[in-house]
Symmetry: C2
Subunit: 205 residues, 2 copies
């Protein structure tokens, strides 16, 4: 019938269902962890058959990878929203934003970093590229703080700094015994960044 830019009724339904399945997958991973995610639970929650999940994503990994893809996109959006006025504040803001995301969506972030492909199937390159892109977001402020440094040097530095922040956060949130409260972690991260900047020769603000 109406055929406004290829958006037939069928397509709309298909898209709506796809979105629903992704949302359910995300909710289940977020609440019960990746390991507890089952095809049947997803299908039941979406009130559709198991086969439909496979029609939409090829296999179960396809759904997981789609959720992970959106997770890294959400993370990137949040990181990009950090004000870029002052470079030092921006670096602190990026670490804070990452910590906030990791605290609020711990299981989703874990799914992104811990999911492995079966056997030796390759990990999707686009997800890797997006993660790398997110981890490169410390590059701009560092360029401003280190104008005399070699460009490729700063690129390495920025990824390294972000990887370090990632390690501190993921292990800090993991240590359930010590139960480091996020507020403490926030302080530690700020201290870490300041120390590192001082080591790089950036005068304290």
């Amino acid at each position: 019938m109406n055929n406004v830019q290829d958006e037939s009724r069928r397509d709309r339904k298909k898209i709506a269902r796809r979105v629903l399945l992704i949302e359910i997958g995300r909710r289940l991973i977020a609440t019960k962890g990746l390991r507890s995610l089952k095809v049947r639970d997803v299908a039941e929650a979406a009130e559709c058959s198991i086969g439909s999940v496979y029609n939409e994503f090829g296999d179960f990994d396809g759904l997981i990878l789609t959720v992970n893809r959106e997770t890294v996109q959400a993370l990137t959006a949040r990181l990009r929203a950090v004000p870029a006025d002052d470079p030092v504040r921006q670096l602190h803001g990026l670490a804070d934003a990452y910590l906030g995301f990791a605290t609020e969506r711990a299981n989703l972030l874990r799914s992104l970093f811990e999911h492995r492909m079966e056997d030796d199937r390759p990990f999707p390159e686009d997800i890797l590229a997006m993660v790398m892109e997110a981890f490169a977001l410390m590059h701009a402020p560092l360029v401003r703080l280190l104008p005399d440094r070699d460009a490729s040097d700063v690129a390495l530095l920025s990824r390294m700094m972000f990887s370090a922040v990632h390690g501190i956060i993921s292990l800090g949130l993991e240590e359930r015994m010590v139960a480091v409260p996020p507020e403490r972690l926030r302080e530690r991260l700020a201290q870490f960044i300041d120390t590192h900047l001082a080591g790089l020769g950036v005068p304290r603000g």
Copy 2:
């Protein structure tokens, strides 16, 4: 018959099999990754029944956790073997040792950090404690380098520094696209530690 300190023939056989199962589990995880580890593969390789694996470890997670326990022990042993002559060299040595371990036994280390319990079963406290202990090994050299700092402050600093090193290594080895060669990572880590020490006010050696 002979009953020298409870070591009956039965016990010896039992222990030998347990060791065999653990070795097979470790080998399979190391070569094909945790996700590809199957009970039946382990039983077949050990030339015993599936049930015996369950007798020995309770459930399949039990075997994985035992392998992980030994992985963190091996890691700790390697880290403890780093010479403690000069504190700065020791810190570099610890990072190098960790990098070496992560390079040679990538899948085993991943298994240690990525394995999750089913549902909400608690993660074994002893493994967490051992990981924490390993991550505290930067404490001693840092105490020597920062004699005037508060003790608890240095404790935090050392764990943070090791967590950062962990993040740099695990992500550095992950980026299959860029394929950071371990030798490059080694240089980066050394640079990172030096920068951080400089930020902490340690005069360059």
